[in-house]
């Protein structure tokens, strides 16, 4: 029977199926960060267990870390005492158990989903988990990668396996070429607008089509990263030459072992007649720049379109729209282009890679940010991204335009560190969630691409990027 890529990855890692119907899946790699791991380590200690396979685990602090660190910064320099405890706890646990950690002083520190691929720890065909829903990012390499809860983090530490039920298969085919000013962020936001935030529930989404074939690994990661925003905890792209070139560039494995691996990796694709439970085809040439207006990623429209009106919406949707418009401070007839922005955030596991920073820098080169913008920050995804950007002079372009150039971390995507919105501030953000309070209590988030966010900093409002 023809199999999908997800079926093949499932079969390759399937240890057993219990009488209950649940399966045990072998886990190749676990990424750990400071927020969702302390209780898992505590559980391990209480049971008197050690990690099953130490080197399957890679840790880094990212959620809580301040992004204005400069030189001589250490864990002890974190001013928020509660944040500090969590970062110190990760360090203690990694030392206690012997887990490899890129700590706050390491050049390799960064957002887990940025450093995993760039340090060569994410390899095609792996099963990858992390106590973080954006683990779907690694699916861009043809990995069965998903976010898990803390109890499951403990289970994977202790048993190198995960108890799961098999997901259904969903195929999203993106064909065509995107218009000028339209990025992979716009493409995935558009998809979420079409299927809704529950559209992929219970499914693994495989992204394919000529558009996907022609984009970079960075762009594929942006799309798989947001699969979870469409409800799918697993997003996938079949490995191809682009994938293998990226892995060869970033991996420290010998060429002999990579040659051997490549023979396997090229087989990781859906069979020609494989059947999917759901299938969607989208012509990307028709997609225009997307910006969210509400409090859920599915509340997204063309940047210059009319914001939905509750009075002309179905009864089901009416209340959701009213609540969202009220929270976002949007008046009845306002368009996105009428809204005045206060802050700009370029960063997050969705859009903080070198390509994102290049696109944003290109859009602001030689310009100045609007006087209406209180602060515009650029937060590279990792120490290596920061170093690369600086070697290309991108930091200078940003700083000359009035942006603040920061140190790596999750930052204002979720505001666990000092980077937060104040109540009712409106932010142009390249992150992944516009939920109420996500970037700070009563903050208002509009999701968009790095180019769009960069231009919003310049103009003070959203405008046409092309």
């Amino acid at each position: 029977m023809p199999k999908t890529l997800y079926d093949k990855l499932w079969d390759e890692h399937h240890i057993t199926t219990y009488n209950s119907g649940e399966s045990l899946l072998y886990i190749d790699r676990q990424y750990l960060h400071e927020v969702t791991s302390p209780q898992a380590f505590e559980g391990l200690t209480k049971k008197g267990l050690l990690p099953w396979r130490l080197n399957a685990n890679i840790a880094t602090p990212d959620h809580n870390v301040p992004t204005e660190r400069g030189s001589d910064f250490s864990m002890e320099s974190i001013e928020d005492e509660i944040s500090k405890i969590q970062v110190v706890e990760l360090d203690k646990n990694c030392n206690k158990f012997g887990i490899k950690q890129f700590d706050i002083t390491s050049l390799n520190q960064g957002i887990v989903h940025v450093i995993g691929p760039e340090l060569g720890y994410t390899l095609p065909g792996m099963t990858i988990v992390c106590g973080d829903s954006h683990t779907s990012t690694h699916g861009a390499f043809g990995c069965l990668a998903m976010g898990i809860g803390t109890s499951e983090v403990e289970h994977v530490l202790a048993t190198q396996s995960l108890k799961v039920s098999k997901l259904k298969n969903m195929q999203v085919v993106f064909n065509g070429t995107s218009s000028k000013g339209v990025t992979s962020k716009d493409i995935v936001l558009y998809l979420i607008g079409q299927i809704g935030t529950a559209g992929g529930n219970g499914h693994a989404i495989e992204f394919s089509g000529s558009y996907i074939e022609n984009i970079s690994m960075e762009a594929r990661m942006t799309i798989c990263n947001m699969a979870i925003e469409g409800g799918a905890k697993v997003g996938l792209v079949a490995p191809d030459k682009t994938t293998i070139d990226y892995v060869r560039k970033h991996s420290e494995l010998s060429s002999e072992i990579l040659d051997l691996a490549e023979q396997h990796w090229v087989s990781l694709k859906s069979d020609l007649n494989a059947s999917f439970d759901k299938k969607i085809e989208i012509d990307v040439s028709k997609i225009r720049p997307q910006v969210t207006w509400g409090t859920s990623p599915e509340m997204v429209i063309d940047f210059d379109a009319i914001i939905p009106n509750p009075d002309s919406s179905s009864q089901d949707n009416k209340k959701n729209i009213e609540l969202a418009k009220n929270y976002m401070g949007i008046e009845a007839d306002q368009k996105l282009t009428d809204l005045k922005f206060d802050r700009v955030f370029i960063g997050s596991c969705t859009n903080s890679r070198i390509e994102d920073l290049r696109e944003a820098a290109n859009a602001v080169d030689g310009k100045k940010i609007s006087i209406n913008i209180i602060e515009a920050i650029v937060v590279p995804g990792s120490g290596l991204v920061k170093q690369q950007a600086e070697s290309e002079g991108l930091d200078k372009i940003f700083k000359d335009a009035g942006f603040i150039w920061r140190d790596p971390g999750c930052s204002m995507c979720l505001g666990m560190n000092p980077d937060q919105l104040k109540p009712r501030e409106r932010c142009a953000s390249t992150s992944n969630r516009n939920f109420e309070g996500r970037q700070g209590n009563l903050g208002r988030t509009h999701l968009m691409s790095p180019v769009m966010a960069a231009l919003t900093a310049i103009n003070g409002t959203v405008s046409n990027p092309s």
Binding site: G21, T159, G202, L253
Partner: protein, 216 residues
């Protein structure tokens, strides 16, 4: 059969929140994820809706400005054990803290027309039962719950929700998931009972896919 974990009947007052897509950031905001404990999240459940001020980890309910319009701040809903809501409850982040906050508040059952996948799984690790009902059935309970205080009885073994007037709603849930709640099972212990199958699988994989282990 010997019951070590929980009762097979859960009775209680229903609190309703009439919204779709309630994400885990609403259930518990990121500020409280700074805790390194697994308990003590009851005062932070639905923090953004329950209070009129912004909170910090360590602050207690009494230190805060209460939003008296929010259902869980009003008697008898402040002692609700069943939460009724709409589509895609628990979407968003994987934080298990969302389930810990519901559990610590006293919520034992969440009824919705659908759930976010990761949240749904996390519930069963913490003795919280997520029940999926059709939109029509959810509507029926909402219609009553918005007019009067509803008390429901949930039968875990019979997989049904019983109204006081004997109106019943059957629900589906995988037996293996339900058993975790009924018996309070711990997955790590269960899996390690037969660890040889993992050892065998891993040894075979090391030979077949050596690149996975090349950094070990």
């Amino acid at each position: 059969m010997k019951i070590q974990g929980n009762e097979l009947q859960i009775k209680g007052i229903v609190a309703h929140i009439d919204r779709d897509n309630i994400d885990t950031d609403q259930i518990i905001p990121t500020e409280y994820l700074k805790s390194i404990k697994k308990f003590g999240f009851e005062d932070y459940l639905f923090d953004g809706w329950r209070y009129l001020d912004g909170g910090r980890l360590g602050m207690k309910k009494n230190d805060r400005k209460i939003n008296s319009d929010f259902i869980l701040n009003n008697s008898p809903f402040d002692s609700a054990t069943i939460l009724l809501t709409r589509d895609n409850f628990g979407c968003g982040s994987s934080r298990e803290h969302a389930v810990w906050a519901l559990r610590d508040f006293g919520i034992k059952v969440v009824i919705a027309s659908s759930f976010g996948d990761i949240f749904y799984n996390n519930c069963f690790k913490n003795n919280v039962l997520p029940i999926v009902l059709s939109k029509e059935d959810v509507d029926k309970i909402f219609n009553i719950s918005e007019k009067e205080v509803v008390e429901l009885s949930v039968s875990l073994d019979a997989k049904k929700i019983v109204f006081s007037d004997n109106v019943e709603f059957k629900f589906e849930v995988e037996n293996n998931l339900l058993e975790r709640i009924i018996y309070g099972l711990d997955d790590v212990d269960l899996t390690l009972k037969d660890k040889q199958i993992i050892i065998d699988f891993e040894q075979k994989r090391m030979l077949e896919k050596p690149w996975i282990y090349a950094n070990d």
